[in-house]
């Protein structure tokens, strides 16, 4: 396992233990994280940690599972499934008590110091809204 893959995976493990500072230490101080699913960009460790705290308020038992990492040198791509129970307000919507399972992909670019300086995340936020009962899935043809 390369150093960058190891940093990525240990970061996910720290995240699952709510070790925000530990997980954030894998990122450069001024790192950019783009969440394409929510169309939000976070800049710097404080905003990144803030996004995690917001998520954990909505889903206190949230965890990232089924990790698969693809090593491309200075870029590591990781697929995972985010799982959690909606026990708190999230995205301005009240808790539903429902469980969510959401496939995710993270594309993390590492700088020369071995820190993530840019990460892009892709997921389907509509699937999450449907699972929470906040939206209705259109019937596929």
């Amino acid at each position: 396992m390369s150093k960058n893959v190891d940093a990525t995976r240990s970061g996910f493990e720290a995240w699952n233990k709510r070790g925000w500072k530990d997980a954030a230490s894998r990122y450069a101080v001024g790192a950019t994280v783009i969440d394409h699913g929510r169309e939000i960009t976070y800049k710097g460790r404080d905003e990144i940690i803030g996004s995690w705290e917001e998520l954990a308020k909505g889903f206190p038992d949230a965890e990232l599972t089924d990790l698969t990492s693809y090593d491309a040198g200075d870029t590591v791509v990781t697929t995972s499934v985010g799982r959690g129970t909606n026990k708190g307000e999230f995205m301005g919507m009240p808790a539903t008590g429902r469980r969510v399972s959401l496939p995710l992909v993270s594309i993390a670019h590492f700088d020369a110091k071995g820190l993530i300086d840019r990460e892009e995340q892709y997921s389907d936020s509509f699937s999450m809204l449907v699972q929470l009962g906040h939206a209705k899935a259109p019937n596929h043809a």
Partner: protein, 148 residues
């Protein structure tokens, strides 16, 4: 020089953009398994994946896909892509075209066998982004400080 797998991956949407859908899927194994996480569907053959590509053309006749980044991880190639097009045809359950244009970022992962065929894959995109742009849904409130 790009690896053979990267060349095969890039050819998918190069051919798609030329409306050569058969050429677009020519690098896929016939028994391909491809997970579409945006639509929540699994295509279990090259033919099913071809049908999904055709459905995009049916809904967006001018659809064009550009490659933002190519990531070579050996037997897996990951493409960061952006789809652009005008909704002038049916799209799944939405049979009435909206006339609206979309810009949707997405990622595709292609997994290759030893002979260079794509045997499995995944696509990730945000269906909500698509539905909002088409006027079929509204995006929930976002934290103002962090909005893109």
């Amino acid at each position: 020089m790009a690896s053979k797998n990267v060349q095969t991956a890039l050819a998918v949407y190069e051919n798609f953009n030329k409306r050569d859908i058969d050429g677009a899927v020519s690098g896929f194994a016939e028994d391909l398994v491809f997970e579409d996480h945006g639509f929540g569907q699994t295509y279990k053959s090259r033919a099913e994946f071809r049908d999904s590509m055709q459905s995009w053309v049916d809904g967006f006749s001018d659809v064009k896909v550009t490659t933002a980044k190519t990531i070579d991880a050996g037997d897996t190639v990951i493409l960061q892509l952006e789809g652009n097009g005008k909704n002038d045809g049916p799209m799944g359950p939405f049979t009435k075209p909206t006339g609206r244009s979309i810009t949707v970022p997405f990622v595709e992962l292609y997994k290759f066998d030893a002979s260079g065929r794509i045997v499995a894959g995944e696509t990730y995109f945000d269906m909500l982004t698509l539905l909002v742009q088409l006027g079929h849904a509204e995006r929930p409130a976002q934290p103002a400080a962090a909005r893109s």
